[in-house]
């Protein structure tokens, strides 16, 4: 939650120089400058590339027309995987969380599956689903599934039973209890799950591309590595960074709208006289 520590002076260059945004940008610029300087003065271009080389590489990538194709491929894989994983994880988490008994019985199995280092399953997915888009979608979906499953499961289990009982008293049916009590109650958990799972969807798509593919940002990184093109690898990483930042801010937006009631702000009228 944001804390508003309003200062009296909100304008003028002094304020600007002291503002967090300015300092953040400054740190970024200094960092880039160091990177450039280190690369040039110690001749580390091969190992760490340099901001200018990465920028050149990005421009070249865009000019070749591959950038947009690669972006589209990776984004499609990640977002489809995210959606499939969320639906499957959310549904399973909800059902197992709500039916205590079933949850108690199956939880150890899901925990066991979760403990497998999932990256190791990537080749298996190639075997099952080929080297096309499906394989990456399903791999990303699997990573997302576990996160969303666990958060939803915990969330649904935490639903206040007395609140549910009160809703029964008010005349709710089973469907009402799910949609109007249980889901909103666990929404905080579910949204946290989505936020954690979002980068995982991207990881799934990239790993899938590393293993076997012919397009996508991950493929481009792998290709650049093969050609010992450090700047190309960094360019790929930069694009990934941008993608996940965009996705996260999108999710933040959704979260803010859904959880507005938690903020407790917004003006309310004063009590009418009587």
């Amino acid at each position: 939650m944001a804390i508003d520590n309003r200062q009296p002076a909100r304008h003028g260059w002094r304020f600007f120089v002291g503002s967090n945004t300015f300092l953040q940008v400054l740190v970024g610029i200094v960092g880039l400058a160091f990177w450039e300087a280190a690369s040039r003065s110690f001749d580390l271009d091969f190992w760490i590339s340099s901001p200018t080389a990465v920028a050149t590489e990005l421009v070249r990538w865009e000019r070749s027309g591959h950038l947009w194709v690669d972006l589209r491929v990776t984004m499609t894989e990640a977002s489809l995987g995210f959606i499939v994983g969320c639906i499957a994880g959310g549904f399973t988490g909800f059902v197992l969380g709500w039916t205590q008994r079933l949850g108690d019985i199956l939880e150890p199995y899901i925990v066991a599956l979760y403990s497998i280092p999932k990256i190791a399953l990537a080749p298996l997915f190639v075997l099952w689903l080929g080297i096309g888009v499906t394989n990456k979608v399903m791999f990303a979906a699997m990573l997302v599934f576990f996160i969303v499953f666990f958060t939803t499961y915990r969330g649904v289990r935490s639903v206040d039973r007395e609140l549910v009982q009160n809703a029964w008293l008010l005349g709710a049916n089973r469907w009402d209890i799910w949609t109007k009590i249980a889901i909103p109650y666990s929404a905080v958990w579910m949204l946290t799950g989505l936020r954690i799972a979002l980068p995982d969807a991207l990881i799934g798509a990239i790993v899938g591309e590393f293993v076997a593919s012919d397009a996508g940002v991950g493929y481009r990184i792998k290709e650049a590595t093969a050609f010992v093109n450090t700047a190309g690898v960094f360019a790929g990483l930069f694009v990934l960074l941008l993608i996940s930042l965009c996705l996260l801010s999108l999710l933040k937006l959704i979260e803010n709208r859904t959880l507005r009631w938690q903020a407790g702000d917004g003006a309310i009228a004063t009590e009418p006289g009587h």
């Binding site: 609140l163 008010l170 709710a172 009402d176 109007k180 909103p184 009631w261 938690q262 917004g266």
Partner: protein, 263 residues
């Protein structure tokens, strides 16, 4: 159980039973919480229950609401045994269960949504209920932004909104100031008068009990059993201020106070 009966009460007796407790005992494990209690509530009656903390007043209401099953004895509601959750009653619980993610309006509308009341009617019923508890102007506020007493009024409005025929109220005005309390008493009496609904009203406040009720039940210390039942033979419709100043009121207060045995 001692009873103090009055002539007008005889008329009520002819009416149908709304609720009846027959030798009901509630135990939590070995812990004897309440009973054996036998008590009848007639349709259209305003019954108040008073008694020391922990004597089983909320327990009685929970039995009618079906959230608690008696260890022995039987509870009947409108002629049938209570089996499972009772959707027919309007139960204002001691703790309020406002949903934090819904606005005041959304909370009050909740039971109407459950009951598939058409949106246009629902809007009107929500408005009426909020007007009754004095919360107009707070429709868009979230429970978190309200005081405890206001949250309690949201819970009351939520029950008033769907206009049940039997109300169970568990210290509903506990956290309200004196003026607001009086105003709420007037509203309740108006509802009672206009709709002929049945009220079972739990309170710690003897004055409140006498003002509102046809009959006051005093429970003994835990395990609570009805110790004294007094018919309140004060004229209706009641003017709250007048009635509290009348000599009969003072006499009832004395009798009930003695039965409560606070020392």
């Amino acid at each position: 159980m001692e009873q103090i009966r009055s002539a007008t009460a005889a008329a009520v007796i002819c009416r149908q039973l709304a609720i009846s407790f027959d030798e009901v005992v509630v135990k939590f494990g070995d812990f004897h919480a309440m009973g054996p209690t036998s008590l009848d509530v007639r349709h259209g009656e305003f019954l108040a229950i008073v008694g020391p903390s922990g004597c089983g007043k909320s327990t009685l209401l929970n039995l009618v609401a079906g959230t608690l099953v008696p260890s022995s004895g039987a509870v009947a509601y409108k002629g049938n045994g209570v089996a499972g959750i009772n959707h027919d009653v309007g139960y204002v619980t001691q703790k309020n269960y406002c949903l934090p993610w819904r606005t005041v309006e959304g909370n009050v509308r909740l039971p109407l949504e459950f009951r598939n009341v058409p949106p246009a009617d629902a809007r009107e019923q929500v408005r009426d209920a909020l007007a009754m508890v004095g919360l107009l102007g707070f429709e868009k506020a979230y429970p978190k932004q309200l005081s405890g007493g206001m949250q309690q009024r949201v819970a009351i409005a939520r029950t008033l909104a769907y206009r049940p025929s039997v109300y169970l109220m568990d210290e509903p005005f506990g956290s309200l100031d004196a003026q607001l309390r009086t105003r709420m008493h007037e509203e309740l009496l108006k509802i009672w008068q206009e709709t002929g609904a049945t009220f079972v009203f739990v309170t710690h406040d003897l004055q409140e009990a006498i003002t509102l009720a046809d009959r006051v039940v005093v429970m003994s210390k835990r395990p609570g059993i009805p110790k004294l039942v007094v018919d309140i033979d004060l004229p209706r419709p009641r003017d709250i201020i007048d009635i509290q100043a009348s000599p009969a009121f003072g006499a009832y207060f004395k009798t009930l106070w003695a039965a409560l045995d606070v020392h």
